[in-house]
């Protein structure tokens, strides 16, 4: 047991438990808080993979931007009639658990069938530096980068139009 493995195990258990809290909690605001913990745990796991740029991006984009948006929407909607809603069909719950179990079995069998050989692990911290990644992004993937800019602009316009529009029956 070295320090890396211990860090990985703590962060992995934190990520799994906060994900379970996210989907199991009755109140969406507590789910959102657990999801922030989940994003931070994943950022820590990215750090154990020497991917500092992705870890910073994870905190900025997910824990920063997306979760602020989610909590803002929760505040805007003010869901007070939370407990009045009951599950209509109880059988659907067991059906959903069955489906997820099948999915888990499929994923587990695929992982074990792939039987990945352990590649020779080298130091990649200079390869994954923001400088190197930026160079790759702006030379090899420039068109995709520009298209992502257009996609984000379209999403902003779509979000404004959809949230502003007076809906008529």
């Amino acid at each position: 047991m070295n320090i890396e493995l211990i860090t990985y195990l703590i962060l992995g258990i934190l990520a799994i438990s906060s994900a379970i809290v996210t989907i199991a909690n009755r109140h969406p605001i507590y789910s959102a808080m657990a999801l922030i913990v989940h994003f931070f745990a994943l950022a820590g796991i990215y750090l154990t993979l020497q991917s500092q740029f992705i870890a910073v991006l994870q905190i900025l984009v997910y824990a920063g931007a997306i979760m602020v948006l989610v909590i803002f929407v929760l505040m805007l909607l003010n869901l007070s009639h939370e407990d009045k809603v009951k599950l209509r069909i109880q059988s659907r719950q067991s059906f959903g658990i069955l489906l997820s179990a099948i999915l888990m079995i499929i994923i587990a069998s695929t992982i074990s069938a792939a039987n990945p050989t352990q590649p020779k692990v080298s130091d990649v911290s200079s390869m994954f530096s923001p400088q190197n990644l930026g160079q790759i992004l702006y030379t090899n993937h420039l068109v995709a980068f520009e298209l992502v800019g257009i996609l984000l602009l379209t999403a902003i316009i779509g979000a404004i139009v959809m949230a502003k529009k007076k809906l008529v029956d």
Binding site: I16, A19, L42, Q93, S100, S122, M162, A163
Partner: protein, 102 residues
């Protein structure tokens, strides 16, 4: 260097993806379904980063960058849809949205 086997990350990614899928099929609150989708996207990102690190290939990192950009666009549009739904139906529970059924 790194003593954690690659399988550990892939198994963690699979478990997180299943938890996200479970949230999508079990919960009826549209916002929690939305958060479960974020968990699934993140689990896929984790496997991308793990493979990228163990194969020493930066392409995986670039892919995660694009996945994050698309997830940001998806969250903006998705939450706008939820707001529009709430304005029209006064609910975010997907059970109560059944206009296509009747």
């Amino acid at each position: 260097m790194n003593s954690i086997p690659l399988e550990f990350y892939i198994i963690l990614s699979g478990i997180l993806f299943t938890i996200g899928a479970l949230g999508v099929v079990l919960r009826r609150n549209a916002i929690i379904i939305f958060m479960s989708i974020e968990i699934m996207l993140n689990s896929v990102n984790l496997s991308f980063v793990a493979f990228s690190r163990y194969l020493a290939d930066p392409a995986g990192q670039i892919f995660v960058f694009f996945v994050m950009a698309v997830a940001a666009a998806e969250s903006a549009v998705g939450l706008a849809i939820i707001i529009a739904l709430f304005k029209k139906k006064e609910t975010v529970y997907v059970d109560e949205v059944n206009s296509l059924k009747h």
